[in-house]
């Protein structure tokens, strides 16, 4: 009995070591897997804005009602080859606002455009399974957003169904 138990445990131990982890290879963006899990939607719970030039700045805090991000894989045809790209979109008041390619690492999330050196870069301050805190700097103005994982409702496509 003991031997059997040891047998199972010893093999299980090495099997566990091989479990897939939230890890990245070069050129991979390891945070995306976490961001797109489940529905891939993250509600903006809180927005804080302040002047980063002051040591003890006044922080303006707001709580948007229905703003959220959505992270998903978008398949594009590039030179006759289907390529899976990591995308993020943003919804304001429940309505689609914008989408772009995203590079998401444990330290940084970048919404990139088609041009090198351009895009919005957010610094990851907290990286949890159901909660993220990101900050963004634009000159002397810093913004911090708190995101909570959600099953946010996407807007219905326009148009009518007719018989």
């Amino acid at each position: 009995m003991t031997k059997n138990l040891l047998y199972i445990l010893s093999i299980g131990l090495f099997a566990l070591i091989s479990c897939e982890k939230d890890d990245a290879s070069l050129g991979d963006y390891e945070l995306f897997k976490r961001l797109q899990s489940g529905s891939g939607s993250w509600k903006v719970e809180q927005v804080e804005v302040w002047e980063n030039t002051e040591e003890n700045p006044n922080i303006l805090t707001s709580h948007p009602t229905n703003d959220f991000f959505h992270f998903f894989i978008h398949t594009q045809l590039i030179a006759d080859i289907e390529v899976d790209l990591e995308f993020g979109s943003f919804y304001t008041n429940g309505m689609f606002s914008w989408k772009s390619k995203v590079e998401s690492e444990t330290e940084r999330v970048s919404f990139v455009t088609g041009l090198v050196g351009e895009g919005d870069v957010w610094t990851v301050e907290l990286n949890k399974k159901n909660k993220q805190i990101w900050s963004h700097v634009n000159g002397s103005v810093s913004t911090r957003i708190t995101l909570i994982k959600c099953n946010c409702e996407f807007p219905k496509p326009y148009g009518e169904m007719t018989g």
Partner: protein
């Protein structure tokens, strides 16, 4: 998946031997302390050059306050995993030692602006141990491979204390590289009582692997610390070894970080050859 199949196969072979022989079985997460010394001269040179740059660029009346350089030596707790058989004069085992060392250093101006560098050295040592095994003591040589990931994150610091990786500054970034190398050493396992053993081992983790010795002659290059982000300015894609020299591939940091380990850990073992 390949490693899973390999692990299960090796585990099964070891266990079938164990069932048919009176050998000690060691299967355990081990916990202990590691004394390490890493050859990160290039990282240290880079940090020194950044301090020099900030001192030269400091506005009048502003002073520079810098942390001491990155440490080469570390003492840290660590986990290991072992599956081994011992007895009948033979010791054989496989060990897995994941470990991660993180260091942060800041160079600050007296006006509150500055920069923080976060150096992450994440290693996975996969080792095969062979040697002499007995009831109370095992002596073995160890040989294997290390799979390593390195990350240098460079943040701009603001007077309010916040840190940013925004693309406003081309020194900001997450510079990454990977490396694989051979590891070898020796160790001793003392088993005074059933269920508990002390594992002491020395390991030298080299940055190169078989066949790699002439690779750089052929490719004329290494995988250097690089930030691949599309959102960054291409002015400085590689983390510079010298901030005061032109930023280019030649002025970059290749992961030639050999490492010495001295580890002492407590492990579980089950004695069957009483």
């Amino acid at each position: 998946m390949k490693s899973l199949v390999l692990s299960i196969t090796i585990g099964a072979v070891l266990m079938s031997s164990y069932i048919n022989a009176q050998l000690d079985l060691i299967f355990t997460p081990g916990y202990g302390v590691a004394f390490t010394k890493s050859n990160i001269h290039a990282i240290q040179d880079s940090y020194s050059s950044y301090i020099l740059l900030t001192e030269n660029d400091a506005p009048e009346g502003i002073t520079v306050n810098a942390d001491p350089n990155f440490d080469r030596k570390h003492i840290s707790d660590f986990l290991s995993f072992q599956l081994a058989l011992s007895g009948n004069w033979v010791y054989f085992g496989i060990s897995y030692m994941p470990n991660k060392f993180v260091q942060e250093r800041s160079v600050m101006y007296s006006n509150g602006y500055g920069r923080t560098f976060r150096w992450e050295d994440k290693r996975n040592e996969v080792l095969f141990d062979f040697g002499f095994g007995s009831k109370y003591i095992d002596v073995f040589g160890t040989f294997g491979v290390n799979f390593n990931k390195y990350r240098m994150t460079s943040y701009k610091v603001y007077p309010d204390g916040s840190k940013s990786l925004s693309n406003d500054f081309y020194f900001n970034g997450v510079f990454k590289t990977e490396d694989t190398g051979l590891a070898y050493g020796f160790g001793i396992k003392i088993k005074p009582i059933n269920f508990l053993a002390i594992d002491v081992r020395y390991l030298y983790a080299h940055h190169k692997i078989f066949g790699e010795y002439r690779t750089s002659d052929i490719t004329e290059g290494n995988l250097v610390l690089t930030d691949f982000s599309f959102a960054r300015s291409p002015v400085m894609s590689e983390f510079p070894q010298d901030f005061n020299a032109p930023y280019s591939y030649k002025n970059s940091i290749a992961p030639m970080f050999n490492k010495h380990y001295l580890t002492i850990s407590l492990i579980f073992h089950y004695r069957t050859n009483d």
